[in-house]
Symmetry: C2
Subunit: 173 residues, 2 copies
């Protein structure tokens, strides 16, 4: 009994979220099903800067985009596609006016990050994430992965950026 | 003659821009005159993220604010005033719409950094920069320090942020 429980845990650990997607009986298209990033890569807040971004529309969002060492190296050397091991993190915040800064500047001009909204990751592993262009997508709110329906929305949009290996953010010098 | 030229060069090297401010005869208030940061601190582009910022008004500016190890440590631990050795860098870019992103998103919502405009530094050394609240201010365009009149504009504005040791930018989690 303990051995079965251990094996089941091992399967869960190896398969990650995938085990929650596939019926117990398995599916013919398992190999092509997307695999998502459900663990926050450790140490991401210490990574180096790729760039910043601001999305309006319904988002009103500020982003700091950071990259692990493999990402920064590839960006700086212009390597495309990004090599396996690359991880890019987008830290999103509500973009809010800074009353404090505006008072000092004497006019309404200053916008700063407010509350964090979500953190998104792209993890390059051309084998593990073959179904989604070699990239695993992760989307976390309050440190928890969002539901799969929301995770699904990442790839179709990024897939349109084919010329730059599905990565929107360019390196800011 | 060579020896005199060497000595003059040495004076320039030690005094930095200060030598351009003081009349040859010296001034009684030299000790209180502002000293500016005229060398770009090496390696700043590899520093960790403090936050991002966006200034409208006449600036239309995006910033990534980075800090050296002393800065990041002080920010994370809430240390005020910042200790000597702290350096904070603000990398400024023109904030421009991204036609490429907007096409994919299907609406005008995306803003990204365009051309770099300037890089500003605050270097904490409570002795060297005593005349300006313990902070040396540096302002560089295309890698060159701006003229002193422009450097002079940093301190009076930052000095209004007394409660946070003259630093506008807060740490983004």
């Amino acid at each position: 009994m303990h051995r079965i429980a251990f094996l089941l845990l091992a399967v869960v650990a190896v398969a990650g979220v995938f085990v929650f997607r596939a019926p117990v009986s398995g599916r013919a298209d398992q190999a092509a099903a997307p695999v998502f990033v459900t663990q926050i890569p450790p140490g991401y807040r210490d990574w180096r800067l790729v760039s910043v971004a601001h999305e309006e529309g319904n988002l009103h969002s500020f982003a700091a985009v950071l990259g692990n060492d493999a990402a920064i190296k590839a960006y700086r050397e212009g390597t495309l596609p990004f090599p396996d091991g690359t991880i890019i993190a987008a830290l999103h915040y509500v973009r809010v006016p800074s009353a404090e800064n505006n008072k000092i500047f004497g006019q309404a001009q200053s916008f700063v990050p407010g509350a964090p909204t979500n953190i998104q990751f792209m993890v390059k592993d051309s084998t593990k994430y073959a179904a989604t262009g070699g990239w695993g997508f992760g989307f976390f709110i309050d440190g928890k992965p969002v539901d799969e329906a929301k995770m699904q929305s990442c790839f179709p949009c990024h897939a349109q950026e084919k010329a730059r290996d599905l990565v929107f953010t360019r390196y800011a010098p």
